[in-house]
């Protein structure tokens, strides 16, 4: 993995270019070839999108062709050398489509495609055989006798045998793997039924018997393969989505050795090394600041929105973002010992606890497998005894029982509903990453939100610009333009939106960690932290403006609410769910946000462990918790919760930890998703009830020896179709 990610570092490491390694030469050769860029475009949904995206991309220089796949919401770009994914993403952004680069693990993706085609081919062959055998069977059912019947059975056998051998392979393989591992799952009775039915029918055909179950055996294969294919497709879409969201960040650091900068992997760092962190970079290790002044954005780590001042002797933790000035950090812990890594360990522990969840399908399979075997074998035994040792007759009954009980409907019951539900949720902008997430979401009775980045957009906006005079606003705008600090960027943008004219400044200088200063009309003007400007610090996030000797003015900032947040909270409360807000931010900011959204239950200054502890305490009381969060500090809580959702803007680690990813910016679809999941679970239960009902009627018929191939075919197709139709009712 790491080799493929090293390409961007070449320019940062002149020595590497002087002596290119074999890997880099190979990469250079690869870069000269026309490249295929794959991007995920979650917002593409209509015919107009196809024209816009393809037309505009193809108009870009260096791009040969672009093809949008609307089903997977993915665009594949055939570009000449030199066109990068970043350029294409920027172009798509101007068109109004946010795009994410796909993991370059192309290999695994084609692997998935191949599997899908393979299953579809087997399904097609089974369908073809089923129809042909059925034509012949209809003739037998309507009264063909003697030589004609035998001939029809023989032709059916010639079609069925290769079909079963080809199309049944997925079941045989899984059953064999299960037997080797010492467990009996769904695949074993399925394989047994298919093989026994085919074998018995072949024997009957060769001996001129009355009943042949070739149609049933092939039909069974067909319906079960259909279920498998649906199941596979749902998982393939989720998996490719998880791939595209996979971490692309390279864990690299700039090590200072005798004043020489050296680009190394974080894994190579040792305690005592000096590391340079440039503004905008993420701190790769735990350590102590040795040199430099700056501000750190720890919002992803702790949930605090307010950047903190960083100067010599300050302890810093991995994951914080350096904002204004370069920092030299002495490493105290790297790699496995960093606080980030300890968090990953906590996540792993929480994950183990969650894996104990058994899905409805597993529960059904666990009950089903033993029962079917017992029923079928006891039928065999009883009929052996009743007929005084007629193996052929007893085996016939046994095969008929296996075929009739076989879980055609059971195999379709869950995949059909999950496909319908995840399709609906995908259109609503939610991506289900985990198969059982839908069922777990349905059980939720408590919703816990994170604040920063989840209920809010994570971007501060100035609140009281109107209170500034036009002059002050102009000065503030001009000063803010000179900095890349997030508060300054936001201030500059807001001032521009208000139509402020930036004042003419001289000697503009950014003082890392403090703010920006300049000379305006002979006076010194400053924009920055309270103590630097000489102001009284407020309890809310604020930047302070000092113009000459006048008293400094505070510009207050507040985080913008994520669209749909208020609606989502209100809807969850209306559904009777307990809504909580747990944040790492200061109590003032959290209580204000809670009051704004009408949440009475809130907790502030929560450490990552506190968040997961709170959730575990709730779950110990029997509550089922849905956690919605986005930061590194949420990952443990996301994993500990019964089910978790994170927005697409969240950190990789959080998205990986959560079960469902929200593709759009709005939180509004969440309550709707919960409602759909409840409905879906209801449909799954109904489907189980339907297939169970068919068995109740059909099994006694088979046991007393009255089952004919016609009854088997009818029971099988009617139950499968009912189940599929029931799944489609999902609204």
């Amino acid at each position: 993995m790491s080799d493929t990610f090293e390409a961007p570092s070449i320019s940062a490491c002149p020595a590497c270019i002087a002596t290119p390694s074999a890997v880099e030469r190979a990469q250079a050769a690869a870069a000269a070839r026309p490249a295929r860029i794959m991007l995920s475009v979650p917002d593409a949904h209509c015919a107009a999108c196809i024209s816009t995206v393809e037309g505009d991309l193809e108009a870009m220089p260096g791009i040969n062709s672009a093809r949008l796949n609307l089903t997977l919401r993915r665009v594949s770009v055939d570009a000449e050398a030199g066109v990068t994914a970043a350029q294409v993403i920027a172009k798509l952004a101007t068109l109004g489509y946010p795009a994410y680069e796909l993991d370059p693990g192309q290999l695994s993706m084609t692997e998935t495609d191949k599997q899908g085609r393979d299953l579809l081919m087997r399904l097609g062959v089974a369908g073809f055989s089923m129809m042909n055998i059925m034509l012949l069977s209809v003739a037998v059912w309507s009264g063909a006798t003697d030589a004609t019947r035998d001939l029809f059975h023989l032709i059916s056998a010639v079609i069925a045998l290769p079909t079963v051998a080809f199309s049944g392979q997925p079941f045989f393989r899984r059953a064999w793997a299960g037997v080797k591992a010492g467990r009996l799952d769904m695949d074993f009775p399925i394989s047994l039924a298919i093989i026994l039915a085919t074998g018995m029918s072949l024997f009957e055909t060769l001996n001129g018997g009355h009943h042949a179950y070739f149609d049933a055996a092939v039909m069974l294969t067909f319906f079960l393969l259909a279920g498998r294919y649906l199941d596979f497709r749902t998982r393939a879409v989720a998996r490719s989505a998880a791939q595209e969201l996979a971490a692309l960040e390279v864990p690299r650091a700039i090590r200072l050795l005798d004043g020489v900068e050296d680009n190394v992997s974080v894994a190579d760092l040792k305690p005592g090394d000096l590391v340079l962190v440039r503004p905008g970079g993420r701190i790769p290790v735990d350590g102590v600041v040795v040199e430099g002044q700056s501000e750190l954005d720890r919002s992803l780590l702790t949930g605090e929105t307010l950047p903190v001042f960083a100067g010599p002797d300050l302890m810093v933790t991995a994951g914080a973002v350096n904002l204004t000035g370069p920092l030299t950090v002495r490493v105290t812990a790297a790699g496995k010992d960093t606080s980030l890594h300890r968090m990953a360990d906590l996540v792993a522990v929480a994950e183990n606890a969650r894996n104990k969840y058994t899905s409805l399908a597993d529960k059904a399979a666990r009950m089903y497998s033993p029962v079917v075997h017992i029923v079928s074998f006891s039928a065999f035994g009883v009929w052996m005894w009743l007929t005084g040792g007629d193996v052929r007759f007893a085996l016939n009954i046994s095969a008929a029982t296996l075929i009739i009980t076989c879980p055609c409907a059971l195999g379709l019951a869950v995949p059909a509903v999950v496909t319908a539900a995840s399709g609906r949720l995908f259109r609503a902008g939610l991506l289900i990453k985990d198969g059982s997430a839908l069922e777990r979401l349905a059980e939720v009775d408590t919703v816990v939100f994170d604040k920063t980045g989840t209920l809010t957009m994570g971007t501060p906006e100035p609140q009281n610009l109107g209170a500034l005079s036009a002059e002050d606003l102009g000065v503030a705008a001009a000063l803010a333009q000179a900095s890349s600090h997030p508060l300054a960027l936001s201030l500059a943008q807001a001032a521009r939106a208000l139509g402020a004219i930036p004042a003419l400044l001289e000697d503009i200088a950014e003082v890392p960690g403090h703010g920006v200063q300049a000379i305006w009309q002979g006076q010194r003007v400053r924009l920055g932290r309270a103590n630097w400007v000489g102001a009284e610090a407020l309890s809310v996030t604020a930047s302070y403006l000092a113009v000459g000797p006048r008293a400094p003015r505070a510009i207050e900032f507040s985080d913008r609410l994520r669209p749909g947040a208020a609606e989502a909270v209100a809807a969850f409360q209306a559904q009777g769910k307990r809504v909580m807000l747990i944040s790492g931010d200061v109590p003032g900011a959290v209580s204000e946000m809670a009051a704004r959204l009408g949440i009475t239950d809130w907790q502030a200054e929560a450490l990552p462990q506190d968040k997961s502890a709170a959730i575990e305490a709730l779950q110990a009381q029997g509550h089922r918790v849905l956690m919605v969060g986005d930061g590194l500090n949420d990952t443990v809580a996301l994993t500990a919760a019964h089910v978790s959702i994170s927005p697409a803007s969240a950190l990789d680690a959080a998205r990986v930890a959560s079960d469902i990813v929200l593709l759009g910016a709005s939180l509004a679809p969440l309550p709707e998703a919960q409602r759909v999941s409840v409905k879906a679970v209801q449909r799954i239960r109904e489907n189980f009830a339907i297939s169970f009902g068919y068995n109740i009627v059909a099994v006694p018929i088979a046991l007393v020896g009255l089952a004919s191939p016609l009854i088997a075919a009818l029971a099988m197709s009617v139950s499968s179709i009912t189940v599929a139709l029931n799944a489609l009712r999902l609204k």
Partner: protein, 52 residues
Amino acid sequence: MDILAVLIPVSLLLGMGGLLAFWWTLKRGQYDDPEGDGQRILRGDYDDKPKG
């Protein structure tokens, strides 16, 4: 009943034809993007670079 000797091979051949057609569509990737293809056919602008 002699007609069966003709009709059965004919029906099997027709079925085979269907299976081959299915195999061909599968190879050509016609099931990769059912939703997109459904929308594409309704577009106003002419698709001068159809897939394939």
